[in-house]
């Protein structure tokens, strides 16, 4: 299969009138038609709405207007991004059919850039998971091997891009939920610096960790999407006033003279084939002019424990609003307390309940100091540890996930095992730092491996620069088994 056309190229052609947005859309809808049953990337395909958007783009071009940098490019949106009048379910029963009366800021920015929203993608329920198996609508399957997970929680978005359903997608990343599925599905996935992309309209999981980020086939396309969605938003108090780095323009600046630190603690937990790819990527960067060092940031080993105290704590509070009063599922009862309980018991899946209870416990009187406040101090230590590393290095390099995609059902019975998938991604969320996963060839089983680049806050420019260099040297990946309508 030939490599899918980059979004950058599509947008350029549509803007120039050389390609019709409607044709682009129809092509992708056909790919979805052929492959979606096997993959289940979407909770909802928005064929009619997308067609209307595509027609509007073409009309604008015909009228001599510029629809914007994403003109006619189909984008898939994780189903925790509010889309006005379109169901936004977070793959949960409790929001089944709920239509927000407003758009998330990123959705508004996509529309202003001429993008065409092609569908809402499947996810772990309320973004809690690393495999998209906790979804109330059933799991998404990895396009490279449909007996395997796509990763999570943004598994649907990663799979949609990998399967060719859309060239671009948005996901959210709280503990690795963009980067890990990107690695498992062989696509690029990036989590920005906390505060560079508005969270307004992103259904909250853990407010101090959540960030929206891009999925794409190429680093350049991810950069294009990041440039569109990033930037200050007055509707989000945690949105940074400082200018968000513009990255598309610096992609080809190369890595000459940069120092790349290979993070030993991350390599420690990685499978041998994954570790090998990381070393291979390091070699490639060295060949391109970078200095490679081994770096130890021992504080990151506490990341998992701190995360599983902070994130559920905040989540337990963020998910209290699902009480059957104002929107979403209601299970009737004699009194309001009973109604709240019946609604939440019926509406939430087991993993969500687990995290709500864990979070409630962690915040509870008597436990606050031992758990939650301690975790916030660990966060400080992690930030300090990274700062020491960045005194010597421009970026850090390591695996994204410890292994390639695991089998569906392999980890669902033991939450703890599932949580270990995030050990390489969580520290960046705790520190608020940007990180990107770039595909770097297959593992021993032929499934994609992703390598991860980490940078200090607001270093997206450098990060994308190095990512482009890694991509340039990446070994080929075999094509996913679910692509065109060809019978397999």
């Amino acid at each position: 299969m030939s490599a899918p056309r980059p979004a950058l190229e599509t947008a350029t052609m549509v803007r120039a009138g050389e390609e019709s947005a409607v044709d682009v859309l129809e092509h992708h809808l056909a790919v979805i038609e052929a492959g979606e049953d096997a993959v289940h990337a979407f909770n909802l395909v928005l064929a009619d709405q997308a067609r209307a958007q595509a027609r509007a783009v073409d009309a604008a071009v015909a009228a001599g207007d510029d629809p914007g940098p994403l003109a006619g490019v189909p984008v898939a949106l994780k189903d925790n991004l509010c889309t006005r009048g379109v169901p936004t379910t977070c793959s949960s029963r409790i929001l089944d059919g709920w239509c927000p009366p407003y758009d998330a800021t990123v959705v508004t920015r996509l529309a202003a850039a001429g993008a065409v929203v092609i569908g809402k993608t499947n996810m772990d329920e309320f973004a809690m998971g690393s495999s998209t198996e906790t979804s109330a609508s059933g799991p998404t399957r990895n396009p490279y091997d449909t007996s395997r997970v796509p990763g999570g929680s943004s598994g649907g978005s990663a799979a949609a891009v990998a399967a060719g359903f859309a060239p671009l997608a948005l996901g959210s990343d709280t503990g690795g939920s963009i980067r890990q599925p990107a690695a498992l599905c062989g696509v690029v996935g990036m989590k920005p610096t906390y505060g560079t992309v508005s969270r307004y309209g992103l259904v909250a999981f853990a407010s101090s960790l959540d960030q929206i980020g891009p999925f794409a086939h190429t680093v350049a396309d991810a950069a294009l999407l990041f440039d569109v969605i990033g930037g200050h938003d007055p509707l989000d108090s945690t949105s940074l006033h400082r200018p968000t780095p513009r990255v598309l323009s610096v992609l080809d600046d190369g890595v000459d003279g940069m120092t790349v630190g290979v993070l030993t603690e991350f390599l420690d937990g990685a499978a041998p084939d994954v570790a090998a790819r990381v070393h291979q990527a390091a070699d490639a960067l060295a060949a391109a002019g970078a200095r490679i060092e081994e770096v130890s940031v021992p504080e990151v080993t506490l990341g998992l424990s701190a995360y599983y105290l902070i994130a559920p704590g905040e989540a337990s509070s963020n998910l209290a609003r699902y009480d059957g009063v104002r929107y979403g599922l209601r299970v009737d009862a004699e009194d309001t307390v009973a109604m709240n309980t019946a609604t939440r018991t019926a509406g939430f899946g087991a993993e969500v309940k687990r995290r709500i209870m864990l979070g409630t416990y962690v915040l509870s009187a008597g436990y606050m100091d031992a758990y939650y406040n301690q975790a916030l101090k660990v966060r400080t230590r992690i930030i300090q540890g990274f700062a020491a590393a960045y005194a010597r290095c421009d970026v850090l390099l390591g695996p994204t996930a410890p292994t390639t995609a695991f089998a569906l059902g392999a980890k669902v019975d033991d939450p703890l095992t599932m949580y270990l998938s995030d050990v390489c991604t969580i520290p960046s969320n705790l520190a608020g730092h940007p990180a990107i996963s770039v595909p770097f060839g297959p593992g021993d089983d032929g499934l994609p491996v992703g390598v991860q680049l980490l940078g200090p806050a607001l270093s997206e420019g450098t990060l994308f620069q190095v990512a482009a260099a890694v991509e340039a040297a990446a070994p080929d990946l075999p094509a996913p088994r679910i692509t065109t309508g060809a019978a397999s």
Binding site: W98, Y102, R326, D335, M357, L358, Q374, T380, H433, A457
Partner: protein, 102 residues
């Protein structure tokens, strides 16, 4: 720092009620076991000596984010109430409320 006591079934029942969740006896057992192992893992955090370390609630240190006191457009009431489980008199209807707010 004193290690907190290991999570018990009673603890889980208590937080479930606090979180408005009903658990069957079987679920209570399973969840107690699962949550206890997560917390055991998290014990390495609670046992650290971090005296003198300031907690970081926000990764990016920003202060005084304010907006001017000017009205912004409100939502369309019909659109909002169309999504409500029960409506009467343009208000959200709920079953009887047994107690005052805590």
């Amino acid at each position: 720092m004193d290690q907190p006591a290991r999570l018990t079934r009673e603890d889980v029942a208590h937080v479930a009620a606090l979180a408005r969740l009903h658990l069957s006896d079987e679920e209570l057992d399973t969840f107690t076991h699962q949550l206890a192992s997560v917390l055991d893992h998290a014990a390495d955090v609670s046992s650290l000596d971090l005296t003198g370390v300031e907690p970081t609630a926000h990764a990016m240190a920003v202060t005084n984010v304010l907006r001017t006191d000017e009205p912004a457009p409100c939502l369309d009431r019909d659109e909002v109430l169309a999504q409500a489980p029960a409506v009467e008199d343009h208000r959200f209807r709920v079953p009887r409320i047994l107690g005052e707010a805590p």
